[in-house]
Amino acid sequence: MKSAVLVFPGINRERDMARALTLISGRAPAMVWHAETALPAGTDLVVIPGGFSYGDYLRCGAIAARAPIMDAVRAHAENGGLVLAICNGFQIACEAGLLPGVLMRNAQLKFICKDVYLRVERSDTPFSRGYNAGQVIRVPVAHGEGNYIADADTIARLEAEGRVLYRYVSPDGALDPAWNHNGATNAIAGIINARGNVLGMMPHPENHVEAAMGCTDGRGLFAGLVEHLAQAA
């Protein structure tokens, strides 16, 4: 799997992501600076990592979404290339028009930094084939603006088309407002685009991939991507 991790000023999760990708795919990703206008030839997966690009000025992800490299990312996605957008990356992907909706301030106004439980809604996508449908995984979140909203038509379409891949749930997999930490519409933690090759999610699977981290539930996402690309090749 040939991956590229985008680097914007103010991003801080790119090294965690590079470590996870190297560990699971066996190949270090290219680190691609935001001012570049092209991705390395043959890139299979573009990762937009988490952090605080441009200090969250204007709106989270708004300025990064207009960076020169983003045209290349849009072209990559239009050609069917995979894009994984985590946390600030999810915000950037929404601002860039790669995914619908917006990540608003958490409903309780607090920055949330803790492990959460996610239910994997389906396992027949490149971004979730490493899990079983209905499986509950534990991964960390660290965000102040993760409250996903979109207009009612968009939400209805996401649900009808099965594009909600990850949802905030209780440890036993039940939908419960008490476990929907940021107040996201329908407890949405992660969605894919209509074509199914772009995933945006607020939680950080890259931070639960080694025993030393106390949990390896995040590995499945990356292992699934590696498997998908190996089969496609």
Binding site: M104, A107, N147, A150
Partner: protein
């Protein structure tokens, strides 16, 4: 030429920051505050001297960057 672009949340969009400000105003004893919605103001200086051109440029700025029209409305005023 000077201009102001005002960006506000669309009605119906939950505004937790506005709610927090509303709560703080109430706890400060400011009377008669029914609700608060917060937004952003951009004061922009333009080299254009033609008002119509200035308004077109500001509209473009708001659509492309200053506002996220999924959740926000904006108003453009050329102020002089």
């Amino acid at each position: 030429m000077k201009a102001r672009v005002t960006v506000t949340l669309k009605s119906g969009i939950l505004d937790p920051q506005g709610k927090a400000i509303e709560g703080a105003l109430k706890s400060l004893g400011v009377e008669g505050v029914a609700s608060v919605r917060q937004g952003k103001v951009f004061d922009i200086e333009l080299s254009a001297t033609d008002k119509a051109k200035a308004e077109a440029a500001l509209k473009q700025a708001a659509d492309k960057l200053l506002a996220n029209t999924v959740i926000e409305n904006y108003r453009v005023e050329v102020t002089g």
